[in-house]
């Protein structure tokens, strides 16, 4: 569409969203967009009413600041607890379920420290 739609056609578009050719024209036409901006503008009473019905509570900032502080503190506490738990868990694991390799290594060291030297044949026999 090369010609601009009439005011009536623009009003019809506002009312119904159609027809498609007007819709396509408006998408690419700054002049018609400006005209529609004027035609659809809300009156002052409605605008001030909108501000009133969406007005935040007067203590919003205070509540948000407190809420954010509390949440960050809680998250930090949970993080610290998780770290402590991880350290405790590692410690318990060492006590209850020691590393078998480390245990084997220790017994080997003990054996070599106290047992008489093995003969060459015994050494070739491998683990029993």
């Amino acid at each position: 569409m090369t010609r601009h739609p009439s005011r009536r056609a623009l009003q019809q578009w506002l009312d119904t969203g159609g027809p498609g050719r007007v819709d396509r024209h408006i998408e690419g036409c700054d002049r018609c967009q400006e005209e529609l901006d004027r035609m659809s503008a809300l009156d002052e009473t409605t605008l001030s009413g909108l501000v009133a019905v969406t007005e935040p509570p007067s203590d919003l900032e205070e509540r948000v600041t407190d809420g954010v502080d509390t949440r960050l503190r809680d998250e930090a506490a949970v993080g610290a607890f998780a770290d402590l738990f991880a350290i405790g868990w590692d410690f318990l694991r060492c006590v209850i379920d020691p590393d078998p390799n480390r245990e084997a290594a220790r017994s080997t060291t003990d054996d070599t420290a106290h047992a008489p030297p093995k003969s060459a044949d015994e050494n070739r026999g491998g683990p029993r």
Binding site: D37, L47, G49, P56, P57, L60
Partner: protein
Amino acid sequence: MVDRHAAAVYRVALSIVHDSSLADDVVQETMIRAWRRSPVGPGEEIPRSWLLKVAHNAAISLLRTRREDLRGPDTFPESPAEIETDRRVEGIAQLDELWEAMRHLDEDARVLIALKEVDGLSYEEIAETLDLPLPTIKTRLFRARRQLKDALKEWR
């Protein structure tokens, strides 16, 4: 950041979640996300459109997680829980009508009206906030205004 942007973030949140206490939660979540993932360096001003985009996403995300618990359109709050404006008796009815009209708009329309008509964002800022092309923002806003006017006629 909270004192400069909390009110605008609250309005975007309220236009999506319809509930003042949920809107509070969204404001908190937005501020935490902004604090953690700020696109600018310390001491620099966070762009309003970026913050409102975070708020928009946070509100939608909250709404999705609570969708099952949320009340249907017929049982939305009769009015915002804590409107603390100086209401004269004759003003109350008008504000109630306006709130009724607003809550019968679709979500996109409410958000557009809150961003443009209440928070006063430019079309470019709204396009950035909602990740939509500029002409789409404009045409949707014009239609949203029209819907609001129609709804107001219906409720008056």
